[in-house]
Symmetry: D2
């Protein structure tokens, strides 16, 4: 394996597509990762407040998952099993049934889609259209659901939409909770549009939403709003799809982001942290009455990542058998809120965004947010932005981060904010 | 882990979506896999002529890849690295550069898409549209490119298209090599359509094709036809996209299925066997002048499956450093042709389809083909069908299958054909 | 010619499509029409407050247009001239130039589209997309722009949209002036959506609106709102298209409905009353810099109804040479407002809608509105409804209606309202 | 009215859109028209072999229609009647019923669409989709059906398609009779595509075709081919739509172009010559079982051009009460064929196209065809081209042209061909 950095960087420049992205902001070559820390080839360690965009909610290389996966591979467990029955899948389903679905009284069927979040969203939209015989899907401002053509139509981000190279159809855009100027109720507006036979909004197959918009800038919907939307979906014969790809798997406290909201989505999409270990895996939960795809009607070669089943089973058994993990996340979330509030005072005009362990600071400009992240990286913290102008500094630490590391990371962030503020003051003088 | 079969089967019935598919034809619970064999929970062993639909060209749990992967995991190598630079990715790119691209004089850039074939196709279509500023894509009868909305528009299969729940746009369908009645030249027809300003076929962004249509029934295009299509693409300002997801990675002999054809595609999509180990991984090769996506313009959380980089590197170094593997595959392909020719004589009206290690027998009806596969499964062989009526029995054995096992598998298949033929003769009498 | 009513009615039932519509509410056979009156085959006379849905702003068979048309036909003037130069077209263009465009400082070119309003809208949308290279068009709730596929995508009415039999693409729906609950400013909302790069609203080719929504329920936008929208269009590189098909040609006072608003649309569509005589004619006004269609790029056999040029020229010279007609319409509009206010008092909960000679009464329910119209018809008045629930009784009298006839018609309407109110009171008791 | 030419031409340049087209090739101002002749403002007379693109099959200002129209206008007959019952409509329907539909055993209902051919096609496509619940429509290479978005999707012409400014969806393009290289049967190919569940051609709502492609280059389908297509439509649950807008109303001999073919279309679209006088009028014939649009579901203000009803009735009663007119057209068609054969000999490589009174000469290049038309115009003949390269000189004389005038026109055409041939020979020397 090559050890010379410049050689390694050069192969990326020479052969990897210009589409590469995160490596531009964090320009080093990573070699090892454990818990909440990454190490680069020079041995430098970084606290990880990005966590694979919430794909590593349980941190890097969790020792129990790691052991189980090595055991599985060592004993010639299947790596690739199409959608055949395997013991690994059975064990995952049993765990998911017992620890996740049944305690929450969810009768949903589990559909393993291609192992990307976008694929789960594609499956969800296709299914909702098939179930209802309708085409139109309601999606919201600043929503992010992936970049394949079906999912991209529902994604708000203009940069990604521009990548399509053609018009994106089948989606009506509505304002998310809090979007309307003057604070008008966006659920009222949606209701008016759906009730009005001449509004131009066709009867929807589905209403698709994230309860917290991760990429869209950590906009958190109120429970009341989500309930209103759920009721509107029901009243108008549309399926309610909760895209819990980023906000699920513990990120906002419960396993699902909507647990405290008193709603039962018709479809839930999960990906990112569902494998527990960062392995590609995605699934869709669907109520039995809507589970009407024929065999392989939505298919894909990798719709059964057996390695991921192994780690996902361990994750569920380890973290979701009792409520200790959840209480821990709740405590850490409060700590995060307090820390961000303190930082916000350093930056007049900034404000807190988000919910649970998916909070951040809207600093008002993408340029400023980028400076803060760059400064943090210099000091050993990996952290990213989100929002339509990349103006929100987003803390997505592993949920398992120990308090010492967490506080250390937050301190680096606070210092970065202070540094940037000082230098801009300096510049202004 | 549960050991009782009925319990395991019951969790699938209870919780897994009705979309599950292969498990219906091969109704047992698999627990172990090695080389060209699968083992179920009862200890029964099966020869695998399905090979993860060509995702396991090097067999199950190749010992060298396995060792490297365990070593990587044990030493806390990254499991999930977004698109950050990692040593594992660098090592893969170096190997791919040295063993695959440079020897074939290919200057293509490597873009890691979401780890499904469909995602690579979506990226390819988006990029071709962006590069050309055109919308229309030419795809062919019986082509299969995935089931997310962008890829599905290019897929011919009506059952999968029906799953979309809405119209699929942006693709013009043209007849594949040999499709026209009376043997008229389909390249001539395409040329006429493209040259005719009133044909109703808009100037294409891309022409997308498989050189052998795996799902479409093992239709193999002639090199001359592929060359004609490549020339037409060039003349009409369209990108030539070769979807090598099923036919690539050695399946037809060379690493790419088009190597002997004297063409240079603008874009190549790879997935399935590219990780070598059956792990989810997909990529797109694109000529540098067309590598114009901005950073993360096409993105996805799992567009960097580090475990897959590890095994993919080993696969390339192990199998593609010299031509031994290729010669082996060629020899096995001839053996396969001979065996299928013999079987064809048992079934009047049947005919051989395909190329290389992607050959099969068109037995004329889906019902008959299904009987053959069911009978083979009873006798310890896993084999599947393809084609518009599922009428083609398709041999997709691992390329690394030793001759003894291969012949054993072929014997089971021949016996199944004979059995089915006899019983239908019997029924007819 | 048949004289027996039942015979005539029977041919309609036997041979005319079930799509026929107005004849169901006004179930008699009309034979003659003059000024503001229609006569049926039994000699019964009706005051016409429908005026061909505003296609007969100058009444039926205006004597000067009639004379000019007969003279044209008698002397073998062309009836059909494709888009050849004819003296009739030249004379119309001269009149339109001198009396309409120049006095309003409009430098627009005149494009004769197919002779339907929908065709003019189709041409406008196509042109805006071609000019900007963008696809998305902003249209508004309750807008009505025609039922051919391009125009229908912009039309809000769900009943008509349902007739498409397929998804309607390329349009983003936004709330019209006053549509948002709680009175939030819809221009603010549109501005927020257009400024937000992640709103999911793609950069628009055009913003398309009616200043008064005729079919949508006589919703009248404020001048300030229209100015805001015009400014937003300009700021965001979109063309402003005013669909003046129903509200133009004097219906709201000026020749164009937007004259007093201080805006210059990039494109204006006209149809309905532009021929003056009820003959099929439509046109599109487009600023010279956007007049980029090639010869016949948008074409149609009837894009030059020479008879209509003759009557349109007379209409312009007769009514728009000085401001007498405009003052007259303004006076009649005030009279109409006063009469409707009086009627509104008879119907608690009802409210006035509209502007100029395109006003009506929102009576709260489609059933009630239908009863009123039916009762009016029995008493010799032809009047129709509009709105998403057909709940608005709409007065669209010819602008040339003499005061006596106008008051007579309004009296019949008032009596119908009173009658319906009484009978429902009676029913309630 | 202006009398100075330069003034008139200048108003067109100053105010008419650059989209104007025919006036560029025939650059004079026409003032009078009668029978088969046009007169310009300088008194120059032209023989008309364009006939309003087949909108003037009975010539200009037919005296009987003219008289009836003047009588109608003089006596205050309605000019605009929405879709109210009028005596004029009843009389037209009676005539159409008695002289056209009943003698041909057609039970179709008559739907009056907006008065353009494109509008009738839009209505037909919408209805077929609604009836079948399917989206896809099969249309053919070189077909021309109008330029509004729904119809344009079915139109083959690339120049017009380019005017859309966005992708055109919902149509699958198939090769017209004779289009395939090597003479392969295009009906066989369509059958293969429709029978193949993986062809990628979705089950069609309709198959839409012209029996002679007027704009597409006078391609005439054989009766056997049309029968095959009709049978395929029936077998596959699709509606057969014959677009008889250009080829109908006597142009190919019978009232409908398909009369001798032994088929019954589900829908027929008519426009152009259906009014008889060149007035805007279009209609759609639909079998009763498919007449399922609700009232006004497809609507439009001008869907009832009363003046056109008057002239259309006279046309039907005058020309279609017995078979004299048909025999006359047949004789003239033979004369035309003979004349074109003679001309073809002057131009090696040229060939005859078309059928009936819709024949022409494919001269191999658009430039040559344009020269011929320009030369003919100088000598007093108005004639135009069609085809994908405008390479077909198309004779579309009024069907009522007397033999003397017809021969005179043909002589001018022959001289033009000879002249162009001579001068190009001269140039070549």
């Amino acid at each position: 394996m090559p050890t010379d950095t410049s050689a390694e960087i050069s192969i990326f420049k020479r052969r990897e597509s210009e589409t590469r992205s995160y490596c531009r902001g964090f320009d080093t070559v990573f070699t090892r990762a454990s818990g909440s820390e990454l190490t680069d080839e020079k041995g430098r360690r970084y606290i990880d407040f990005l966590a694979g965009c919430s794909s590593l909610n349980y941190g890097h290389n969790d020792p129990d998952m790691k052991a189980a996966l090595i055991e599985h591979i060592s004993s010639d467990g299947l790596a690739h099993g199409l959608d055949l029955h395997t013991d690994a899948k059975a064990a995952f389903l049993e765990a998911f049934d017992q620890q996740i679905l049944r305690p929450r009284s969810m009768d949903h069927k589990v559909m393993f889609t291609g192992p990307t979040g976008a694929n789960a969203v594609e499956a969800a939209l296709k299914l909702a259209r098939k179930v209802t015989g309708r085409t139109n899907v309601i999606a919201f401002t600043n929503g992010f659901h992936g970049v394949t053509m079906g999912a991209l139509a529902a994604t708000g981000n203009g940069y990604h939409r521009g990548g399509a190279g053609m018009a994106l159809n089948g989606v009506t855009r509505m304002p998310y909770d809090g979007y309307l100027p003057g604070g008008a109720d966006t659920a009222d507006y949606l209701e008016a549009m759906l009730n009005d036979r001449s509004s131009g909004v066709d009867a929807p197959a589905a209403i698709l939403l994230e309860t917290v918009q991760g990429e869209g800038g950590l906009n958190a919907a109120s429970p009341e709003w989500v309930q209103r939307i759920a009721a509107l979906a029901k009243d108008h014969g549309a399926l309610l799809i909760i895209d819990d790809i980023q906000a699920g798997c513990g990120r906002t406290g419960g396993f699902f982001s909507f647990e405290e909201m008193g709603i039962t989505p018709d479809i839930v999409t999960l990906a990112k942290s569902v494998s527990g270990f960062g392995l590609p895996m995605a699934l869709m939960l669907v109520r039995p009455q809507h589970d009407i795809f024929g065999p392989a009607e939505h298919n894909g070669t990798f719709r059964g990542n057996t390695h991921a089943f192994v780690t996902a089973r361990v994750a569920i058994r380890k973290f979701w058998t009792d409520d200790r993990f959840q209480r821990d996340v709740a405590a850490k979330s409060r700590l995060l809120t307090a820390a961000l509030e303190e930082m916000s005072e350093l930056l007049p005009g900034s404000c807190l965004k988000g919910r649970g362990m998916m909070q951040g600071l809207d600093v008002g400009s993408g340029e400023l947010a980028a400076s803060i992240c760059a400064c943090a990286f210099e000091n050993g913290l990996i952290i990213e932005t989100s929002g339509s102008e990349d103006q929100v500094v987003k803390v997505l630490a592993p949920l398992t981060t120990d308090n010492e590391t967490f506080l250390k990371g937050l301190k680096i962030l606070r210092d970065a904010i202070r540094g940037v503020t000082d230098s801009s003051k300096f510049a202004a003088e």
